[in-house]
């Protein structure tokens, strides 16, 4: 935050704190992207901070996951590294506790790769959001290298690091869930029977007039809730940490002395550390919840047991 503010245009600290926190959590501005790519079909494809973080997370997940697993598979089970054993533990947990009971033994091998992809991608994206690497780079850049405000490093500083804190990213993931539910139901029951399975059979016919709109709304609300749950949980924790850290600047401004601001650090920094610990729990739980709910919704489309 210190390194990314370019000018203090005479506003008080209290007025600057709010927009500063919002800039630190949301995506960078589309008009000042990191890499400018021209418009294709009316959509601006320029790489903003969250898009950049999506690519970084994808490359990290691909190298950290695919390479050891391929080594393990090609050597026919002579696992050497502890990291492979840890991946195997998580994979077995997801297959036996999340995928198996929900999807059933017939489709478990079809859908478990999707759930695993969701889990590891969301886990890594959330976790990398907790590491303030760009703030560190900005600090080093401001005091040691002092590159111009237009350089690549300074462009990297605007915007938040958590890719899944952006509701567009989680909406993309929830769209995959939406189509996965339809595909699962259609593959199990056939196209028309899947849509007939939306409502339970054997009810009196006037009820269907209310039940069918409710079920169609439920079909859309479930991925929407997945979107907002993940995005709100990720940004909320970061906003809480940043607000606590801003307390130092606010108290320093209110009493017009820097010592008061630094004195508040005795309260502010331990509380931020505690909330960061809570954030780590939230990171794990939110990845687990997204995967679990996707598995439950896919399972509900396959085994219809109203």
């Amino acid at each position: 935050m210190v390194a990314s503010s370019t000018d203090n245009s005479g506003l008080t600290v209290l007025e600057q704190v709010g927009p500063n926190i919002i800039h630190h959590v949301s995506n960078s501005d589309i008009s000042h992207p990191i890499v400018h790519i021209p418009k294709l079909f009316g959509i601006d494809f320029s790489i903003t901070k969250h898009v950049f973080m999506l690519w970084v997370v994808a490359i990290i997940v691909a190298t950290v996951m695919i390479y050891p697993i391929q080594k393990y598979v090609k050597s026919n089970g002579k696992e050497k590294s502890r990291w492979t054993i840890m991946i195997e533990y998580i994979v077995e947990f997801i297959r036996d506790a999340i995928s198996g009971p929900n999807v059933g033994p017939k489709w478990i091998m079809t859908w478990t790769p999707l759930f695993l992809t969701f889990f590891f991608f969301i886990l890594f994206a959330n976790g990398i959001g907790m590491i303030p690497i760009f703030d560190l780079i900005g600090l080093i850049d401001r005091f040691i290298f002092q590159t111009s405000p237009d350089s690549f490093i300074n462009h990297l500083l605007h915007g938040g690091v958590t890719a899944t804190g952006n509701f567009n990213v989680t909406a993309g993931l929830a769209t995959i869930t939406f189509f996965a539910i339809i595909v699962a139901g259609v593959r199990e029951h056939g196209f028309i029977k899947h849509w007939k399975n939306l409502v339970p059979h054997g009810l009196a016919w006037p009820i269907y007039f209310i039940l069918i709109p409710i079920e169609i709304m439920g079909l859309l609300v479930k991925p929407f809730a997945l979107t907002m749950r993940l995005a709100a949980n990720m940004t909320g924790g970061h906003i809480a940490i940043l607000a606590l850290l801003s307390l130092m600047a606010i108290i320093g401004e209110m009493f017009h002395s820097a010592v008061a601001g630094i004195g508040v650090a005795i309260i502010s920094i331990p509380m931020s550390v505690a909330i960061s610990g809570l954030e780590i729990i939230v990171v794990l739980v939110q990845a687990y919840v997204f995967t679990l709910l996707t598995a439950v919704f896919v399972g509900m489309a396959i085994n219809v047991h109203h």
Partner: protein
């Protein structure tokens, strides 16, 4: 004194409702596991889904209230 002063009150009420619901769910789950420790896995599995749906309701309410505050 316009109506936006009631928006945080609405958020607080939603959080109270969600917290009460989740608390009752957790209490029922704990009691069920205490009666029959063998069914601990099944009870946990059955409770998890309504728990997260209820938490989702609370987060949806929070998002709509945030939107209301922003768009005012």
């Amino acid at each position: 004194m316009d109506a936006t002063i009631l928006v945080p009150v609405g958020l607080g009420l939603t959080v109270i409702g969600a917290a009460l619901g989740i608390g009752k769910f957790a209490a029922a789950a704990a009691e069920g596991i205490a009666r029959q420790p063998e069914a601990a896995d099944k009870i946990s599995g059955a409770v998890q889904l309504p728990l997260f749906l209820l938490e989702g309701v609370a987060i949806l309410a929070e998002v709509f209230i945030f939107l209301m505050l922003i768009l005012q």
